[in-house]
């Protein structure tokens, strides 16, 4: 096996071993890896594993897509016109440090307890970073490319399609990857309050219904695993031929 595969596996094995040793020394700490694996097995048998993962992914998908649909055109608009950016930037900067979780009461006020509130929180979490990243990406376009596009006199629509969008795409994909990570963080938190399915719900529910800490940790492990899969999928986009130029390590 190659080094690049062996080393990560060694790291995981070492972490599992440390975990096992720790709970042998202090059994009350948290459930051990074997108990957690059994917990995941139990969830799978009861049909909850797939159901909860799908429920969480469903919320992320809609919240995240809605954010992209609004943030990218908005960011383009703000990035192209100095005036729009100057007007919008302060409010974006003020909203940015407010955790999406601070919106929970307002989300419940507007949308009640349920899916829509959770989706709204995810939408908010992805919206601001995507808008700001799109705006910055437009600012970072090499002026030479814009000058060339002007020189050839190509019409506005073609200029969008052939210059503006491809020029920002590498940065946009990185921002989309980061925003998806944030969305995944937030869905779990949102599900702890507002809904009755999903991995966040699993964690709270397992504790409330009989202190099943093996299932709590099982939920955490699943969140991590799904998160890494999402990230790997997004990373594949960075290997598209038309965006590879934008990453320095090439």
């Amino acid at each position: 096996m190659s080094r690049s595969r062996l080393l990560p596996l060694t790291g995981i094995a070492a972490a599992l071993a440390a975990w096992q040793i720790a709970i042998m020394l202090r059994p009350s700490l948290i459930p051990g890896p074997i108990a957690v694996a059994r917990g995941i097995g139990e969830l799978a048998v009861r049909g909850l594993l797939v159901k909860y993962v799908v429920a969480s992914l469903f919320r992320v998908t809609w919240g995240y897509l809605a954010a992209l649909v609004i943030a990218i055109p908005l960011g383009l608009l703000l990035g192209m016109g100095r005036i729009g950016e100057m007007a919008a930037n302060p409010i974006l900067q003020i909203l940015r440090p407010i955790s999406p979780l601070a919106w929970i009461p307002i989300a419940i006020l507007w949308f009640g307890v349920g899916d829509v509130s959770a989706i709204f929180l995810i939408f908010l979490a992805a919206l601001l970073p995507m808008t700001v990243a799109t705006m910055n990406a437009v600012h970072n376009i090499d002026p030479v490319h814009l000058a060339a596009a002007r020189n050839f006199g190509i019409p506005l629509r073609a200029r969008m399609r052939d210059v503006l969008i491809p020029a920002i795409l590498p940065q946009l994909i990185v921002a989309m990857r980061i925003a998806l990570g944030v969305a995944w963080l937030v869905v779990v938190a949102a599900e702890m309050i507002a809904v009755n399915s999903g991995l966040g719900f699993l964690i709270v529910d397992a504790r409330n219904a009989g202190n099943r800490y093996d299932l709590v940790v099982a939920g955490m492990v699943l969140i991590g695993l799904v998160g890494i899969v999402l990230d790997l999928l997004m990373r594949r986009l960075e290997r598209l031929d038309s965006v590879r130029w934008g990453y320095a390590s090439e």
């Binding site: 050839f152 006199g153 190509i154 038309s242």
Partner: protein
């Protein structure tokens, strides 16, 4: 005159960049503009390209005042002007949005051939050397059949061997296509190798010190007496002794 600068002056804030530039380039002429760094030669070219408005004076092409960039006259930047997200084909066909598919393909193939990039049609710029990227940019400019080319130190980022090759390529293409060329460089040798006339500019604020006719037929012998004479004349004009 194809391109005519009439008493063009330019300042950026308090800094005077160009002073009273009057200069004409004839149809089909290869004109080099040389001068020390910061003498305003790039600014002059940008004004002719329509990217900058002159502070005073005017530029006309075919008698029409230049007010904006136009696809009949294309600006060639250093090789970073190619679009890194498009293939060689995509770059060269970039300006041909108004042609139908078949015409476009034929035109792209013609210019890929002209600049010697056959076999690299599907390559991306990151897979090409600096010289090849520069060829793509020249081909992209020529493909729209402009009547004037503005080149702003196009070979400045290339190594010296590639630079020499690119110069003879450019001359070959210029002979084939007969465009009016305005070529800015700080390389005196380069100007004497390429130009019909060399415009020598002073340090900032840029003025025209002298216009030198290069009366050596192509292909030019770089060790001929006339070549060395003209080269040294320009060196002297810029105030450089040709010694290291």
């Amino acid at each position: 005159m194809k391109v005519q600068f009439s008493d063009v002056s330019m300042r950026f804030g308090a800094m005077e960049v160009l002073q009273h530039i009057t200069l004409g380039a004839e149809e089909g002429e290869f004109l080099c503009i040389v001068g020390p760094s910061g003498c305003g030669k790039s600014t002059l070219l940008n004004i002719a390209g329509g990217f900058l408005a002159p502070g005073s004076g005017s530029v006309t092409i075919d008698g029409e005042p230049v007010t904006a960039p136009d696809r009949r006259r294309i600006f060639v930047f250093q090789e970073r002007g190619v679009f890194p997200w498009l293939t060689v084909e995509g770059n060269i066909g970039f300006g041909l949005f108004d042609m139908d598919e078949a015409g476009r393909e034929a035109r792209v193939a013609q210019y890929i051939d002209l600049v010697g990039l056959k076999g690299f049609e599907k390559s991306y710029p990151r897979e090409l050397s600096g010289g090849m990227k520069q060829r793509v940019e020249v081909a992209r400019a020529l493909a729209v059949n402009p009547d004037v080319l503005f080149l702003d130190e196009p070979f400045g980022a290339l190594d010296s061997i590639t630079r020499l090759q690119m110069r003879s390529e450019l001359l070959r293409i210029w002979r084939a296509e007969r465009k009016t060329v305005l070529f800015v460089t700080h390389d005196i040798e380069e100007s004497v190798q390429l130009a019909d006339r060399v415009v020598v500019m002073s340090a900032r604020p840029g003025r025209i010190r002298r216009v030198v006719d290069i009366d050596i037929p192509h292909p030019r012998d770089l060790s001929s007496r006339r070549y060395i004479e003209l080269r040294d004349l320009i060196f002297g004009e810029i105030g450089l002794a040709h010694q290291v």
